[in-house]
Symmetry: C2
Subunit: 330 residues, 2 copies
C-alpha cells in the first residue's frame, strides 16, 4: 500500500486530505518496520503543525451511552460551535469490552457522515503502551490535518483511562443515575481524574434520580483534594436521547479551557504530559534494549531460576545482569 512518498502523505495531511490521513494512521498502527519508519517521518514533519486543538477524553462503562452522547455532543461542537472534530478511541485488546466502542461506526450515523467530523475506529489489537502511543501519534496527525477538537473515547474499566488522562486537556466521566458506584464498575481512581462528571440518560422520566446523583457526586468530589489549577470539577446531566444538557457540557469544557489558559495551567499540563510520555518512551526503550538483547537471554534465565530458588536476592541478580548488559553493549 505504501507506494507513496513521505512528502505525499505529509502534504496530503497538511491540506486536510482524509484518505491520506487514514492511510498514515494505518501506517502508525502497523507492526511492520518499514511502515513504522515511514510513519515516524510523517509524524516528525507534522508535529510543528500540531498542538492547537482542544483534546477531550470521555470515559464511562459499557451501557452508559457513550456513543449516543458523542453523537450528540459531536454534532453540537460542529454545528453550534463551528469547530471540526476527530473522534478516536483507546481500547487495548480486550475481548471483554470489544464491540462497546467505536468499532461500530453506525452508532454515530450523523457524525460519521459529517464533512467536518473524522471518526477513526479502535485499532483491533496491541498492548496498552502500543495503543497509547499510536493514539498520541494519531492526535498529532489529526491536528496537523486541521481538526481543532479531538474526542478520545475509552471504556472506564481498565488501565487505559490513566493513559487517556495523560493525553487530553479535559477528562469527562459519564455516569448513570440510580446505579451505585459499585454497580457501575468504574474504578475509584477514575473519578478523581474527572474534570466533569455527566449523569447521562437523564431523560424526562429519570430527572429526579439524575438530580439526586448530581448531588451525590458533587459531595463525593468535594472529598478529593483540590486540583492544581484550582478547578472544581463540575457535575451536570445530559440526555443524548432528548438532546438535552449537551450545550451545558460544552460550556463546562469552554470554561475549563479559559480557566486553565488564564492561569497558564493549560500549557503547563501539556508540558507535563509531554514529559510523562518522554519518560514512558525512555522506559520502553530501556526495556527493549535489555530484554531483546540476545546475548543476555541465557544469563537472564539462569538468574531467574536462582532468584526463584532463593539462592540469590533479586537485587543482587539485577546488579549482576545490569553489568552483563553494559558489557554486551561495548
Amino acid at each position: 500500500m505504501n507506494a507513496l512518498k513521505p512528502q505525499e502523505y505529509i502534504d496530503g495531511i497538511l491540506s486536510g486530505n482524509r484518505m491520506l490521513l487514514s492511510r498514515a494512521i494505518t501506517l502508525i498502527e502497523s507492526t511492520r518496520q518499514e511502515h513504522q519508519d515511514l510513519a515516524q517521518e510523517i509524524i516528525e514533519a507534522c508535529l510543528p503543525q500540531a498542538g492547537s486543538s482542544i483534546r477531550i477524553g470521555i470515559t464511562g462503562v459499557p451501557g452508559v451511552g457513550k456513543s449516543t452522547f458523542i453523537e450528540s455532543f459531536g454534532n453540537y461542537i460542529i454545528e453550534e460551535q463551528d469547530r471540526s472534530l476527530a473522534v478516536l478511541a483507546v481500547d487495548p485488546s480486550s475481548s471483554k469490552t470489544r464491540g462497546s466502542i467505536l468499532g461500530d461506526k453506525t452508532r454515530m450515523e450523523t457524525l460519521s457522515n459529517h464533512p467536518k467530523a473524522y471518526i477513526r475506529p479502535t485499532p483491533t489489537s496491541g498492548s496498552l503502551g502500543g495503543v497509547a502511543r499510536s493514539t498520541r501519534e494519531t492526535i498529532t496527525l489529526c491536528e496537523a490535518a486541521g481538526f481543532n477538537t479531538i474526542l478520545i473515547e475509552t471504556v472506564g474499566v481498565g488501565q487505559s483511562e490513566t493513559a487517556v488522562h495523560s493525553m487530553v486537556d479535559f477528562f469527562l466521566l459519564l455516569m448513570l443515575a440510580g446505579a451505585g458506584d459499585e454497580l457501575q464498575g468504574i474504578k475509584r481512581g477514575i473519578m478523581e481524574m474527572a474534570d466533569s462528571i455527566v449523569i447521562n440518560k437523564a431523560d424526562s422520566g429519570n430527572m429526579e434520580a439524575a438530580r439526586r446523583a448530581v448531588a451525590q457526586y458533587k459531595n463525593a468530589l468535594h472529598l478529593f483534594p483540590p486540583t492544581e489549577s484550582g478547578w472544581q470539577p463540575r457535575v451536570t446531566t445530559s440526555s443524548a436521547l432528548e438532546n438535552k444538557g449537551i450545550s451545558e457540557v460544552w460550556d463546562i469544557v469552554d470554561e475549563f479551557i479559559r480557566h486553565t489558559k488564564t492561569k497558564g495551567y493549560f500549557d503547563k499540563k501539556r508540558r507535563k504530559q509531554a514529559n510523562y510520555w518522554l519518560n514512558e518512551s525512555i522506559n520502553q526503550e530501556l526495556h527493549n534494549a535489555f530484554y531483546n538483547n540476545a546475548d543476555l537471554n541465557a544469563s537472564l534465565t539462569t538468574y531467574r531460576h536462582r532468584v526463584q530458588a532463593g539462592e540469590i536476592s533479586s537485587y543482587k541478580a539485577a546488579k549482576d545482569l545490569m553489568q552483563l548488559f553494559l558489557d554486551t553493549t561495548d
Copy 2:
C-alpha cells in the same frame, strides 16, 4: 556503628541474636554505600536459611484497629500456636498516615515485650520502592533469625498494598461494620487482593452490624473473578478488645496455607513474586544506569525541552537518547 565484620552479623542473625538482627536491618535502611554493601553481603549469606515462614500482610485504614488486632492475633500465634513472630510495616514516607502504624510500639505492649516476638518500627523515610525492597530484605533476615511467622502491616489507602501483596503468602483486610466502603477510604483494588476480610471491632454491642457487614462483603467478593488457586476469600468477625474471633482468623490462614500447599500454588506464588521483584529490580537498575549517567544529562535536558516544545516526538527523542546512552557505555 559498623565496627563488626559481616560474618559476625551473619552468625549473630543465624543464632537468633536480636540486637545484631536489628543492627543489620538498620544497615539495610541506611542510605550510605558502605552500609548498603555490608547489608547485601549479610542478606546473600542469610538467603539460603530464609523462606520457611508464613508471611501475612495486614491492611486497613487508620482507625480500623490494626495495632490492637495485631496485638491479639500475635499473642494468639505465639501462645496458642507455639510460633515465633516478627512484625514489620510498610508505610512509605507519608505525613498523612504517620503515627498510625508501628511507630508507636506501646500500642502493642504485650507483644513488644514477648521473647518470641520481634517488632520493627517503620523506617521513617524513603520511596515506596526503597521501603518495599528494605522490607523484603528484612523478611529474609527475620526468617534467617528463626522467626516462622511474619506479619507485615500497611495502611490501606495508598500504593503500598500492591507492594505488600507481592511479598506475602496471605493478605488480610481489616474493615469496620456500618461504615460504607466509601467512608472507609479503602481503595477498590485492595478488596480484590484480600484472601480474607475481617470485620474488626465486632464487640458485643456491635454484632448485628458486624453480621450484616459479613453478608455484604461475602456478596461483594462473589462478584470478583475466582482466584488462581481456587481459594474463596473468607469473611469473618473479630473483637480484639474482647479477644473474640482471633483463633478463627488463624484457622482461615491455616486452611489457606494447606489449601495452596496441596495444590502447589503456595510455591508457585512465591516463585511468581520472586520473578516480579527481579523484574522490578531490573527496571530500577536500568533507570539508575540511564538517569544517573552524567554524560547524558545535558542531552536529556535538551531533548526534554524539544519534546515539551512539540519539536520532536517523545518516541523519536527516546530513540535518540537511547543511542546516546548505549554509546556512552562503550
